[in-house]
Each structure stands twice: as structure tokens, then as C-alpha cells.
Homo-oligomer: 188 residues x 2
DNA sequence: GTTGACGGTGAACTAGCGTTCACCTATAAT
DNA sequence: ATTATAGGTGAACGCTAGTTCACCGTCAAC
């Protein structure tokens, strides 16, 4: 019962990007009294699904933005119902450190295929930060944009693909590293 | 100036998982009057960074959860400052269709390497839905959990790795498909 | 049968939120 | 020089949110 209520509140949060107020929860779960809502919320807070910040305002709990991380594939789904669902992750926070300087790009071509980056994948790139040897970067080189490994050695800087069929790129004119790739996401 | 204000409000939202109230915005941006906040918000709403729902409550705009998608890597960063930043994506919504039946697993081993799924990657798997031929699945087979391609043909069902060094798995006892892989994420 | 805990209704109270109005001060336009 | 506009202060106000109190029926424990 209480889990149904929680799910409804979570749905509301997902949909409206904010927590519902008492009267809205009343309608959501079918109560006729704000006091019932109050007691429900206290329970949810007690079990940790929800919390209030220092000003007493309702803020979503972990289960609102995060999804459970069940460990290694080898471990499979936890047998003992409940338990072990401790770890959860907010994918956005996991992938994006510095929002505001992060951008997504769609990958074209197979030059990074051996690194597991395929055509159609999205890569998360951060404009901030100092690119290091070995980083995957979005770079402007010799008149075009590309995604490659950045190599730095003894003062030289060049790009290397992750595909035996392509050759390293030793810039003839300019090599501008615009962003460092921080993550890859693929949807099936 | 106004963009600074917006960034501060966004930061507040990221941190507290809720929109600030007028007095909080006052402190955030250094105003001494709630009316100034009111006028600021009207501007932000007008330019679409923010909005109010039908009950008049403040809800975050697209820029709060989403990050810009700049198109193909080949296109690089837009030259004309501003413009073309139209497309943005909320990574969570992009990857997860049915929250509540979605789980994350960490990949071990290299059996899916040719599909671009590597050790250490996280996969998003959905318990709901009917697994089809060709889907990547989390399955329990012959006493262990694994991630593989699901193959169905003429009444037979088996698993295939994406690695020439491994052989297909024709289940001797049981084959239980527990979840369908909907996405892959990798962090560098 | 009695008691107590649980989960809910209904009503009342207060703090504070969002709005509005009057007013002020630079800066730019005329 | 004058005017209009943008962007801010300060105060006042109505409304509603969250809280609290009194009360009630149901079910389980004793």
C-alpha cells in the first residue's frame, strides 16, 4: 500500500520535475485529509524514501532520480527479495561532472571501433580541463572535426584512431582540441 | 548578467533537487526585494529557461536537466555563437523508458567486445518486455548469469557472444531471460 | 469484552510564499 | 534638458501550504 503511494509520488515527480504539495498528494492517492498525507510523508521520510532539507521543504529521495545498480552481470538479480539493493546511481550525475561545459555528440564512422565507440553512439565531451596523452578528444584538425585518441610525446601532438584500417593523423596545419570525451552512451 | 542568475538557479536545482523559492533566489543572486526576483523570473520564463505549470508553480526548464546535443562529431562546435543549440537531451529520460523495471549491471569479461560492450561498462536492462531474436539480454543459463545476444530460430532459443573466441551457448538445462539490455554507458 | 494501535477524516491556525503597488535611480533615447 | 525604460527597493496583502489537535472506525492483542 505504502509503496503504491510512493510510486505515485515518484511518477508525479518524474512528470512535473517537482515534488507535489499536500493537496496534490491527496488527489494522487485518494485521501480526503491533509493530515493523512502528513502521516504518510512522515512514514516515507522515516524509511528514507524522502527527506526534508534544513528549511523543512520536501525533497526527493534517492529512488526518485536513481536506479539500482545490481553489481556484476555474473551476480544477476538478488535472490533474497529486498536486501542488497543498496547501491543506486543517478545516471546524469554519474556521467556529467561539470554541467555547463558538457556537450553531446553523435558519432559517425568507425574510426574508434576498437575502443568500443560505434557509429550512432553519443559521446559526452567536456570543454573544460587539460587534455592529456591518451585521452579521447573532439578535435579540429586540418580543416575537419573528428574524435580520436590524443597522443602527446616529446613535444609532439597527434591523433590516433582506434581502428587498424586508419592511420594516425599528424597535423599539417592546426590541431585544436575542443573537448575531452568523458563518457559514451548507446541506446538499443 | 541574467545568465549568471540563471546559472545560480540551475546550480541550486541540481544541488537541492527542487526549485528555490523567492527568498532563496534573493539570497542566491543578491537581491533585497522579492519583487526584483519576480521580475527576473518573468524574464526567464519569457525566454523559456523556466516555466510555471498550470497551478502557477515554478518548474525547471529544459536547461535544468538536459545538456546540448551538437549533432555529429563532424559538425563540431557551432561557430555562430548561439543559435543551433536547439537540441538538448536529458540523459536519464533518453536511456530509461520504464523506470521501476530498469536496472544497471556492471559488465565483466569480454564476451560482448565485438558489440562494443567492454569490461567495466554499465548496461541498462529492463525486466519488462518480450525478448526478441537479436536482443542483447541478461540471462540465467546453466547455473550462471551472463550477458549475450539472444537467438531464436525455429523454436530453438540459445545465446551467442559477440566474440569469436567464445562459442554459442545452447542451454542444456534452463535458459531464463531476466532482462533486455536497453543501453550501455561508459565513463572515462 | 476491552484496550490500544493504526489509518484515516475534518477543522483550525500560522508562517511565509507569490503577487502587486508605489516609488526610486541610472542610463539611453529624443 | 527632458523623457522613457530597465532594474531595483520596500512595504502590504491575500492565499495556501504544512502543521497540529480532536475525533472516529477497524482490526488485532490481551
Amino acid at each position: 500500500m505504502i509503496d503504491e503511494y510512493k510510486d505515485k509520488i515518484i511518477s508525479f515527480y518524474q512528470k512535473n520535475k517537482r515534488m507535489p504539495v499536500y493537496t496534490e498528494i491527496m488527489k494522487l492517492v485518494g485521501f480526503k485529509s491533509k493530515n493523512a498525507v502528513h502521516k504518510l510523508l512522515n512514514k516515507l521520510i522515516e524509511e528514507g524514501s524522502l527527506s526534508k532539507d534544513n528549511t523543512g521543504r520536501l525533497i526527493p529521495g534517492r529512488s526518485f532520480n536513481e536506479i539500482p545498480l545490481l553489481g556484476l552481470v555474473e551476480a544477476g538479480f538478488p535472490t533474497s527479495t529486498e536486501e542488497a539493493l543498496t547501491d543506486t546511481i543517478d545516471i546524469g550525475n554519474y556521467l556529467i561532472k561539470d554541467k555547463g561545459s558538457s556537450y553531446l555528440f553523435e558519432v559517425k564512422g568507425d574510426s574508434m571501433i576498437e575502443e568500443g565507440i560505434r557509429e550512432g553512439d553519443l559521446v559526452i565531451a567536456d570543454k573544460k580541463g587539460e587534455p592529456k596523452d591518451g585521452d579521447i578528444v573532439i578535435a579540429y584538425v586540418d580543416g575537419g572535426w573528428t574524435i580520436k585518441f590524443l597522443k602527446k610525446k616529446s613535444g609532439k601532438t597527434w591523433l590516433e584512431p582506434a581502428n587498424k584500417n586508419y592511420k594516425p593523423i599528424y597535423p599539417t596545419q592546426e590541431l585544436k582540441v575542443a573537448a575531452i570525451v568523458k563518457g559514451v552512451i548507446r541506446k538499443y
